[in-house]
Symmetry: C2
Subunit: 476 residues, 2 copies
């Protein structure tokens, strides 16, 4: 009988050998950050520029580990016709102090191997060209090789990690709220519905896969509320969906939301405090972890953004009530397309004005009209201008970045509201949460792409997500 050990040992030996003989592999970031010259190293990456002089050949290579390229210095004899912009190379040589001011280290090449050539004529990116974001957006499979998108994706990755850390450090339990759901949390109706794609199915069998109509989630809130009945602090960070037929620079059909829910919370202030802490902690972390990537945006994309954000990080966010907001708008000298009126939703033009009025800083607007908001928001029991304990966070250039509320934890209030809406049957389980150890609780959601747009000053939301999905477009 063939023993597995024999096979295993033989294989382990044969695959292990080359590894031991292998040179030290360095990433570009490591090579650039090295303090000491190093012996034989190998660096792999894509060529960003080739400059051939009589006595020396200069290459810049990048492997995505940093915005900066590593300069390779080689003998002109190492040049070959495949060594072009966009090609993939392995360079072996010695890491030495660079005589140039611009970089710390450079690689003195001994061998250069072109691993994958690049058809430069057909390649839509060109060497040393600053391609506009609109241009590279046409090539979702290649635009990550562009400097700006490269920086964006590194920043997005760091921000993702910082969000997880923020909640983890504060004792929140992470919950994967479902993507497919039989609820419509917002009641907005702009839902994507799901069916199996098996076209061979007989019409007679055309029943739902889940027995009920199923949709892509618009928010994980209701599911987080389930969890907030067992854990006092929970969060989720995942994709959410809207079938909005909009081509706006602030909307996508698929986007990411950070959502948190806190139990034993009786004031909106607690919720706002978490929103503000989250924003400030994550932003500071990103700025300190990717200084060069962030600099690219603050230098070339949105030059005024840096100073504004630094001020924002130092100051308390402003808080105004919806009532005050309407008064401010009514007294504005500006004429609005939508006349500000108590009971009406704040329009983009109103949000813009309010943020400007408060000094181009983040502004919490709290306590919205009862009739404007969904059934789950907590009744403030005030009057005659009846409000709920809702909060929106408005930020310059974007508008609504976060939305939150206290939730109606009182069974009689919730039951009568659902009855009026004819939703009692659908939300029996949600009422159950109030029957069995209900607690005052609340939470919020933050649009992750809008967050990135705001801190980096990126005009179009399609440029802050790896693969944007919007009406008429689902590339790749």
């Amino acid at each position: 009988m063939l023993g597995p050990r024999r096979g295993w040992q033989a294989l382990r030996r044969c695959v292990s050998l080359p590894r031991a003989q292998r040179e030290v592999r360095l990433r570009v970031r490591e090579a650039l950050g090295a303090r000491e010259p190093a012996g034989e190293v190998k660096v792999q990456g894509w060529v960003r520029s080739v400059r051939s002089q009589k006595e020396v050949l200069f290459l810049h290579i990048n492997d995505g580990s940093s915005l900066e390229n590593l300069q390779v210095v080689a003998d002109p004899s190492l040049e070959n016709r495949d060594l072009t912009f966009g090609s993939a190379v392995e360079v072996q040589g010695k890491l030495v102090k660079s005589p140039h001011r611009m970089q710390n280290m450079e690689l003195k090449a001994e061998t250069i191997r072109v691993v994958g050539p690049c058809d430069t004529l057909a390649f839509p990116l060109k060497t040393k060209e600053r391609h506009p974001l609109e241009y590279v957006r046409q090539f979702p499979h290649l635009r990550c090789r562009n400097n700006t998108l490269g920086s964006l994706l590194r920043i997005r990755s760091e921000a993702t990690a910082a969000i997880h850390s923020f909640f983890q450090d504060n004792g929140y339990v992470h919950i994967h709220t479902p993507i497919i759901t039989s609820n419509d949390c917002e009641g907005a109706g702009e839902l994507f519905q799901i069916e199996t794609s098996n076209e061979a199915r007989e019409p007679a069998e055309k029943t739902h896969f889940f027995d009920v109509p199923a949709f892509l989630t618009v928010s994980g809130q209701l599911h987080l509320e389930v969890m907030a009945g067992a854990f006092t602090h929970v969060f989720t960070f995942g994709p959410t969906f809207r079938a909005e037929n909009s081509q706006s620079r602030r909307h996508l059909a698929e986007f990411y939301m950070v959502e948190a829910e806190l139990s034993f919370t009786e004031s909106l202030e607690d919720i706002m405090q978490v929103m503000e802490d989250l924003f400030k902690t994550v932003t500071s972390t990103v700025f300190s972890k990717c200084p060069r990537d962030v600099e690219l945006f603050h230098k070339y994309i949105a030059p005024a953004q840096k100073d504004r954000l630094e001020k924002t990080l130092k100051n308390k966010f402003v808080i105004i009530s919806y009532n005050e907001a309407v008064e401010i708008l009514k007294q504005a000298s500006q004429t609005f397309t939508f006349k500000p009126e108590w009971g009406c939703d704040l329009q983009t033009e109103h949000e813009k004005y309010l943020v400007k009025h408060c000094g181009e800083v983040p502004v919490f607007v709290i306590n919205y009209p009862y009739d404007l908001k969904p059934f789950y928001m907590r009744d403030n029991e005030d009057g005659p201008q009846h409000t709920v304990a809702a909060v929106d966070l408005l930020v310059p250039g974007i508008g609504e970045l976060c939305g939150g509320s206290l939730r109606e934890e009182r069974l009689p209030f919730l039951r009568s509201r659902l009855q009026r809406l004819g939703l009692t049957d659908a939300y029996q389980w949600y009422l159950d949460l109030r029957k069995f150890g209900s607690v005052p609780h609340g939470g919020f959601g933050m649009g992750f792409e809008r967050y990135l747009q705001y801190i980096l000053g990126v005009e179009n939301i399609k440029d802050v997500i790896p693969f944007p999905r919007f009406s008429h477009s689902c590339l790749l």
Copy 2:
């Protein structure tokens, strides 16, 4: 004109005041871990048991921060009829050393406030009962209040954080691969299709929202490959979907996958090394961060699992080739339902036998028949038994935990394979990746729920995800 500052300051003052006067709030975990007795504290949570004696009232309360409950000791006069199992309470008092061996600290209550009573008769969970997992599965909105599910969700949260940290620490860039896609990566056809749910739409307008048919992703691999053309190390961790009409204990319609892609990789060993490191690092982290939660599973759910896993963490995983696997199966004394034959897929019974044969440890099976595997896997150019550089990781009790491969980076190989399949047009963008600086690369995916099943010894996959979705079921 109403200044925003006025409103802001007034509000800030009024919402800040109660906070300053508020007592020190402690979570149960913090209270239990306190080294010193503490003055006035407040603990909030749900009652897990009430024991009323003549001279003293004992409560156990839990807030989800740990498996352990905090014991509250109170004067019987503090009892009231709403103070039952399942109710939500706020207890104010002094944290003192417990005279009992079982716990470190206990709370001497001064006041007990029932925040939310519990209709215990209707409540499907009962005090001090060990409900089977099948029973609590019927109540997806309440089962998180059960000890086992509570522990599971804390472990799941820690494992999620540990996976992010593992990749972050190793220089991987996190990518949100899209959920909605126009590709079918696996070509398996068991896809969910997406449409807008707007029923008012005119039939004439019944065009696709995205202009093309769109599906829920089955894998982020192809999108990660895009990114592997700019970053040498990328990963994603998100939901994936299969419209499989299966009621198996190992399958869900919506489940989570960890996927990684590495560039400049020419050997399967590199990929296997990452799979093994990921498994071992994350498991060690979870075991050390949630010892009590893990213990619950290893004590009550799968008593043999602990020793087996500790052995697994210390040893190298076994590697065998598909060819060897088939030989082992052919020589087995056992009779299989599916006769083992070169060129056929390994069935569950085969996987089980192989794992047992190797000593109930994780087993990598590598180099599968060319014709069994999808178009993107790298041709080993061997023969006459033609294989590709694929790898599956089989583990005891589960079967396939991970799957990976080197990808076909050579343009001519990939092009002719796609041509034979008639897929050249659909995958033009994928061919592009090989035209412009192609590099040898590979990657893998690990099923997150199966991972949790394996390390905790949980029989049914529906018990390791907060809201399971499978055919005929999409609750909440």
